[in-house]
Symmetry: none
Subunit: 213 residues, 4 copies
């Protein structure tokens, strides 16, 4: 299933190390100039390699996009689930929003990159990417529905609220220069969380209680 990428090296450790470097530099350059306008020469130089050396570890320029995808597939949903252990659903949602928005902040470069360059990805990789976005939404949808079934939330369209949550996280990364002139990340999280809670909480006082901690 995972597409295999050509290498002339038999030293697995070295391949991993070099690819990791390539991916890191590629993301930087692709963000700055776009995929098409970044040349292999530039990329190799920024990796401290020669072009020939680079091609020992990748099969083609397009392969780098695939490596970038692999590199970013963050199993952050697992992190979420840990947060869901014993605490109540209301707090769980708040925590998840916080974790997710924090991840959006950290992974902003990646997300800007995918948003723009998705067109250059293979069909399979494109699908993987869209799937992962859908997963985030579905995760929040489930959480909201859980709250609804527990009588804590009331909401007409859980998936729309989930969608809004996820997109507003993305927005923090994609439009950071605009948003940062008004909010810090913490403030942004706090305000958006309050808005979400205002929409779905049956008993808004709950919100106030915990946000005082």
């Amino acid at each position: 299933m995972p597409k295999s990428i050509r290498t002339y090296s038999t030293n697995g450790e070295l391949v991993k190390e070099r690819r990791s470097l390539i991916v890191k530099q590629a993301l930087k350059l692709f963000l700055q100039k776009g995929y098409d306008r970044t040349t292999i020469r530039e990329l190799a130089k920024s990796c401290g390699m020669t072009e020939g050396a680079l091609y020992r570890y990748i099969g083609s320029k397009d392969d780098i996009l695939h490596l970038l995808l692999l590199d970013t597939t963050v199993a952050f949903i697992e992190d979420f689930l840990k947060g869901l252990g014993e605490i109540n659903t209301v707090d769980a949602l708040k925590d998840c929003i916080k974790i997710y928005y924090t991840w959006c902040n950290d992974a902003a470069d990646n997300n800007i990159f995918y948003n723009r360059e998705i067109i250059n990805f293979s069909v399979a990789d494109r699908r993987t990417r869209l799937k992962s976005q859908a997963d985030y939404i579905q995760f929040f949808e489930k959480l909201i529905k859980k709250g609804v079934s527990e009588g804590a939330f009331k909401v007409k369209s859980p998936i729309l609220v989930a969608h809004n949550i996820v997109m507003q996280g993305f927005d923090w990364g994609l439009r950071r220069w605009f948003l940062r002139s008004f909010f810090t990340l913490d403030k942004y999280i706090k305000l958006q969380t309050e808005i979400v809670m205002g929409i779905i909480l049956i008993n808004p006082s709950t919100k106030q209680l915990r946000s005082n901690k």
Copy 2:
């Protein structure tokens, strides 16, 4: 101020017509394959022209991006203002959201395109684009603040709510394949409007009254 684009034709009518065709086809191709991967040959062919003919109406490939920008600069804020005549602010906001989301639906291709290809625009054109996004947000912010000063709305951060409104409109266009599997445009507008109103209205009953019409 407005950058002028080279043409060898003196027939203004023809130039307009041809450029309009070029822009239309270009948007289609750029969406499909991206700016860099769309060749002039393809574009010319898809316009039913030869390359030489195309260059009678533009000076360079980059000029097409500028033409695309001009083509989209919709004075839709003026349309909004007409809606603000005598009616109360609550209804005005609802109407504006509706007009704006409808525009987002119509201009989806353009917005997807800009979102992705903004990196290829000239600095001046990039600024123009960002400015216009900021204008939308500011417009909604003002409207919300008006409602606040009239005692109809109550809201912690008007600009954040305005930002959310504008971005959720964009989202309808940018992520239409996902959203359309759950909502029609009308349904999406209705639900998002209810959410916004739920957040800012002091007396939620107002919402119910009018949405029954």
Copy 3:
């Protein structure tokens, strides 16, 4: 023998008039930008014609070079000969130098042009041009030899002196910006004539006599 140039017009008068205009504008533009860098579009515009109209009077861009050659073939040697009637050879040479240098001044643009663009001419036209330069030299050579046979001049290599005379005339046109900062045309003619006479005259006092007039 004279190459015929295609025209779609049957009105000889008109053809002549238009070609004369074309040649005039072409020389101006070719001098400024060179033959290759001057486009038919520019030329047509500078003639107040359209490209299509221009091609009614010429068959190709290269034809213009040929027309330019025809236009410049000045039968100035005939003018010289008139000056040779009854006066003595010494004065005849002086007069011829003066006439020739004056022509070099008037035809400077042409000469600069040929010097530079000769490479673009057809082989036949190139030969014509070189032949005409050789004719000038031969003319002065004959004159000098006449003076030698009459006992007025003494000179080792008449053709070399003739060559120098002709080239120094050209130089006035080709390097005018340099020379004009030191001499007027009259001064240049006077000084070069004195030098020539100093070289070939047996009895230099003759020179003084006439130059006093």
Copy 4:
């Protein structure tokens, strides 16, 4: 100050070698067909390279013109000065003419090329070229004035004589096909030197003495 030309190679020796080849072939082709009519494809082929390889060593076609200029900037005036040590000015002038005319013969291709293609050079490079021509003239002017101040020469316009000397050197190169049918280089130098000396020497016998050696 010296314009640097792009190369993708870091091997200075190789760059030098390849550029030297390019310049050599370019001069040959440019002489034959002119700058504009010589294609990069032809040039590359005549260098035994592909187009891509050629562009490792130059940044653009125009750069070749600059390289040609650099290649020719001959510090020949220094050579002259060595000849001026202890010998008297009369002999020095004769030697300088000889050295200069010999250089004109060697550098004929270059000079033909510059004469014709100067229009394609950058403004800076054009100035450099004109300056170097002026330097030659000035050099001879100084030498003549030195002779005048020593009482060896008598001349109305030293700069005009200097100009004639320099131009007649150029002429040997520019019009070699004509001149060579009458003179060898040695003969040409000898005759032109005699003419110059005839013009400026106060005591012509000096000339005879040394030319007998």
